[in-house]
């Protein structure tokens, strides 16, 4: 196939969507109003675990302006249980979007109301009487797995939603023979993404047209259509999902959970019903994430070479990680990727996923790769310290080498390409590592401010192709030539802030010799686009870019055939450049002229020879050339296509008196293969890293042991502000992937994966004089002081009254 000259791929093109978004002319779901529209509000459970003894909605139903008041029992008559989003050997509970006999978490919707205004709907909530019989709750992961724990689903016999494990190599022997064996317990707390736009849904059931239209804020309109159709047992082709501008997703908007409630209200009333969640609802029941404990055992030789890894992860998916959202799967991904970018001789892993009385668990930037990264990267720095090696040197000795790709990791995945050592070397240069360590030595002990630097390396498996779940294995897209020579790209991929509305134009412009302004990306309407799966698993630059580039190439080849026929020349000699198809040194036909010829003057019959495939548009199906669901001789499968990588560093100053951590400097070196738009890539790195810093320092769903969530507003659930984050330095290594059309790799999650480990490593480095070992996140000032208090040196220096 003709090779295109790259002109737009690699350019820091300004984002096409920003004109409307930054001037306030974006159109989000809540901006949409239709005649006759009602507004929904939901009564939510105040208890984490309770039996619903009775629900009396008669007083609310009687209020003027209230059009529907529905309970779980009502709902059961009209719909089925929530359709599963994932079931890979998992226990799938039968649950509804409105609680029926039991509530499983604080904030679970119990009654839904549709009224003339949101005000009236919320007023009416106060007229509903629910009688609960409170049951014992369990929130802690290990408590949920302990014998005798309160059971969410008694028919299961325990609280285990899924369990899995694998072993490769002589694990026990390796540990028995090892020079050093290190053990770690590393938990991480529960936090999640925070989109500026929360969940929003406007459902309209049109009985006269037998059609359900759902506008909603989602990352995956096609998947939502399927899940809604399954939940309502409604013909899928009679459901249309429209996702307009989306104010952030981060993995949180990959299901049809509460979104089905406005659909039900619309079916019940025959009128459009809109629900836009409040921030409180988002914190109570928007998808939550993280929440796990790792036990790690690592065998290392005396010269600092990793030998064996024996790991166990216990995950907590709240009330459910299969139907409400697909949270359970991330712990399987975590187990498969805990070996990270390093080489091993023996590996054993076990994972156990617990349900508990917390909100449902979904995806959030990482989906297990973050879970895999955190314990190992903290362990790497601690082990380096114990071995008397620098954290960088210890990592270097154990990285997969740049000449070893494709490299099959011991757990099964095939790593496509990379240069991990170069990423780390560039990072040390970017952050001036040696200078920081000198400054640390010169200033330590001179004031209460302790300087520290931490590094973490990462793998970002991107483009997951997971069997038996919505995160499946293909992408379909259409590239269409219009009569006037412009091009439409029709894709199921949703722009959720990552900029695909712009980057896909860059890709297609290069393939067809156009400018990005000659191309428009159409997305967000299930009745306009092919059934593509959407953005998750950093799959855009793996699946979708490859799919669309291939579609454009095929369309171009078909157009060349048409032109070659007109000119009576060889198609192989033609190129597409500057908006035209060109015979080098000879004739030229613009795409507008060609589009006109094909469609109008004279039209296809006069210009398209019989042997040419569709010159109007090409719909292409792309799937991974490397993923495999057939287990190899060791029982291993391969789910991910590309393996972006990188390293990052955080420099902190810890105030040993107050415990406050100030982030002084952040640097990231990323390798996502061929870069389509450097500005967008750096924006992703910045935003993702800040989310990780938030998780490391302040973000936390604070549940007590009764399952009460204490922080349900943004004055108590804290995110980093501009004042909490320094400028972030970025640099890149480019190792093109051999498995994608353009050599691109995903890059949406990598920078969120690293910060927690880098932060812990930085704080432990800063507080080395006190021998602090972080055992819990987030590192609030209070937790830092609690850690310091265990040091007698600190108590002598800083304890009040000392």
């Amino acid at each position: 196939m003709t090779k295109s000259t790259s002109r737009w791929v690699g350019a820091s093109l300004a984002r096409k969507q920003d004109l409307r978004l930054v001037t306030g002319h974006g159109r989000y779901t809540d901006d949409i109003s239709v005649p006759g529209m009602l507004h929904a509000a939901m009564l939510r459970s105040p208890h984490a675990h309770a039996r619903i003894k009775s629900v009396d909605v008669s007083r609310a139903r009687a209020l003027p302006g209230v059009h529907a008041v529905l309970t779980g029992e009502d709902a059961k008559r009209y719909w089925g249980p929530l359709a599963p989003t994932i079931d890979i050997g998992m226990k799938v509970p039968t649950v509804y979007a409105l609680a029926t006999d039991k509530v499983y978490y604080m904030g679970e919707p119990v009654v839904a109301i549709a009224a003339d205004t949101r005000y009236l709907a919320e007023d009416a909530l106060e007229f509903i009487d629910v009688e609960y019989e409170v049951l014992p709750a369990v929130t802690d992961t290990e408590a949920a797995l302990a014998p005798g724990a309160p059971l969410l689903y008694p028919e299961w016999g325990d609280n285990v939603q899924c369990a899995w494990g694998m072993s490769v190599g002589a694990v026990d022997e390796t540990f028995a023979r090892a020079d050093h064996v290190f053990e770690f317990r590393l938990p991480q707390h529960r936090y999640s993404g925070a989109s500026l736009e929360g969940r929003a849904a406007l459902a309209h059931y049109d009985a006269y047209n037998r059609k359900l239209t759902l506008h909603c804020s989602t990352q995956a309109p096609n998947l939502v259509r399927t899940l809604v159709a399954q939940t309502f047992r409604f013909p899928e082709h009679d459901v249309q999902v429209i996702a307009p501008d989306i104010g952030g997703g981060y993995g949180n908007k990959l299901q049809a959970d509460a979104e089905v409630i406005p659909c039900l209200l619309s079916l019940a009333t025959g009128r459009p019903v809109k629900w836009t969640e409040s921030r409180q609802e988002n914190l109570l029941s928007g998808m939550q994430c993280r929440d796990y404990v790792w036990y790690l055992k690592v065998a290392v030789s005396k010269d600092g070479i990793l030998q064996g890894l024996d790991a166990q992860v216990l995950g907590n998916v709240g009330c459910d990680g299969t139907c409400h959202a697909a949270g359970a799967g991330k712990f399987l991904v975590a187990a498969g990727y805990v070996p990270g970018p390093y080489k091993w001789h023996a590996f054993r892993v076990a994972t156990k996923v617990a349900v508990s009385n917390k909100a449902p668990s979904g995806a959030y930037r990482g989906y297990g790769k973050d879970i895999a990264n955190y314990p190992l990267e903290v362990a790497m720095s601690r082990m380096a310290d114990a071995l008397g090696l620098s954290p960088a040197e210890f990592r270097r000795r154990n990285f997969v080498g740049k000449d070893e790709f494709p490299y099959q990791q011991i757990s099964g995945p095939v790593y496509d390409s990379g240069d991990y050592a170069q990423c780390l070397a560039k990072l040390l240069e970017l952050v001036d590592y040696d200078e920081v360590k000198q400054r640390q030595a010169a200033t330590q002990g001179k004031s209460a401010k302790y300087l520290g630097i931490g590094i973490a390396s990462m793998l970002e498996p991107s483009g997951g192709a997971v069997p038996s779940c919505i995160f499946n294995s293909y992408e379909v897209a259409t590239v269409r030539l219009m009569p006037e020579g412009g091009v439409l790209v029709l894709t199921g991929h949703q722009d959720i802030g990552q900029g695909s509305e712009t980057t896909l134009c860059q890709v297609v412009a290069d393939e067809l010799g156009l400018t990005p302004d000659d191309v428009r990306v159409v997305y967000g309407d299930t009745n306009a686009v092919p059934y593509g799966l959407g953005p998750w698993s950093s799959r855009g630059a793996t699946f979708n870019v490859s799919c669309i580039a291939e579609a454009a190439r095929r369309l171009k080849a078909n157009l060349f055939e048409v032109v070659a026929n007109l000119w009576q020349c060889e198609a192989a000699g033609l190129v597409a450049a500057d908006g035209a198809i060109v015979e080098p040194g000879g004739r030229r036909m613009t795409l507008r002229e060609l589009g006109n010829k094909l469609h109008l003057w004279p039209g296809a019959f006069g210009v398209v020879p019989k042997h040419v495939a569709n010159p109007f548009e090409v719909t292409h199906y792309w799937t991974s050339p490397i993923a495999s669901w057939t287990p190899d001789e060791l029982g291993r499968i391969r789910l991910y296509t590309t393996h972006p990588s990188g390293s990052s560093a955080i420099i902190v100053e810890v105030d040993a008196e107050t415990g406050k951590i100030e982030v002084k400097d952040v640097a990231i070196v990323d390798d996502c293969g061929v870069i389509i738009n450097p500005t967008i890539v750096e924006g992703q790195l910045h935003g993702g890293y800040v989310q990780g810093i938030g998780g490391a320092l302040m973000e936390e769903f604070h549940y007590d042991e009764r399952g009460q969530l204490w922080n349900t507003d943004l004055t108590s659930y804290l995110h980093p502000l501009a004042t909490d984050v320094p400028d972030i330095k970025c640099d890149h290594v480019i190792s093109p992937s051999p498995y994608t059309t353009l050599g691109t790799k995903g890059m949406g999650e990598g920078s969120t994966i690293m910060p927690c480990a880098a932060m812990v490593n930085a704080v432990e480095d800063a507080l080395k004089p006190f021998g602090v070992r972080v055992d819990q996140l987030p590192l609030t000032p209070e937790r830092v002081i609690r850690l310091l208090k265990t040091s007698s040196i600190w108590r002598e220096m800083y304890e009040v009254g000392a």
């Binding site: 949101r118 005000y119 107050t658 302040m698 980093p720 000032p781 002081i785 009040v800």
Partner: protein, 290 residues
Amino acid sequence: MKPKPFDYVRVDTLPALFSALAAHDNAKIIAGGQSLVPMMNFRVAQPEVLVDINGVEALNHVGRDGDWLCIGAMARYQDLIDSPLVRESLPLLSEALGHVGYPAIRNRGTLGGSVVHNDPSAEGGVALCCLGAEVVVASAKGERVVPIAEFFVTTYLTDIAPHEVLTEIRIPVPLPRSGSAFRELAKRVGDFAIVNVAALVSVGAGDKVSAVSLALGGVAETPLSFDVGPAVIGHPLDAARAAEAARLVDALSDPQDDNVAGGEYKRHLAGVLVKQALLAAYIDAMAKGA
């Protein structure tokens, strides 16, 4: 996240305000609305009538009356921060109010509203406690003047009746050779503090401390003053004296666990900030010359 239905009355004079308050049982005054409106949206506050005093010119003043600075109930944070009069006569108040929320909150919120609301770590309340302020509470029946420490009853509760309004805050201007400092630790810039400390130190002959006033927020149900005179009066203030003062505060306070932080940590933090604030206030006083 929508309030219960409520009526709205706007008044321009104090008499009109008094009659509006008299006419309704469950009325609430709205000034800047920075605490009240979120509480209404959460339905924690459910007034039947909002009486808007933004138009009452008689409440919008900042002026000096002899040795007192008088601040009307409608004076907004940012106006107080920007006021040269406040900056010169009460630098502690200027410094403290600079820690309140974000620009949008400071542009709208009022010191009077914050005092009546009485969040235990509100910067204004802590500074006013340290400065020994008084508040003027008025109703149709007349005025009464209440020392700030008595006005703060407990968290979110003050010595004010439903038919009354706080009209003015009066603050004694400190002695000439006085210095002050405000220190706080919040999880993020603009958040309510975990603990905050206001210190006012006067020095006399031989650079010895002649008077001291100290108030803390976040350690009790209201902002609280502590008498650390025994530790520092009559001596130059050094690190050892400051530490002694911190021990006094520690012995007198018993902060409880809450949603922001645990009592044990607050106790530790109070000690750190008391030392820092006292030393900074002393240095500030010394800079004022002999």
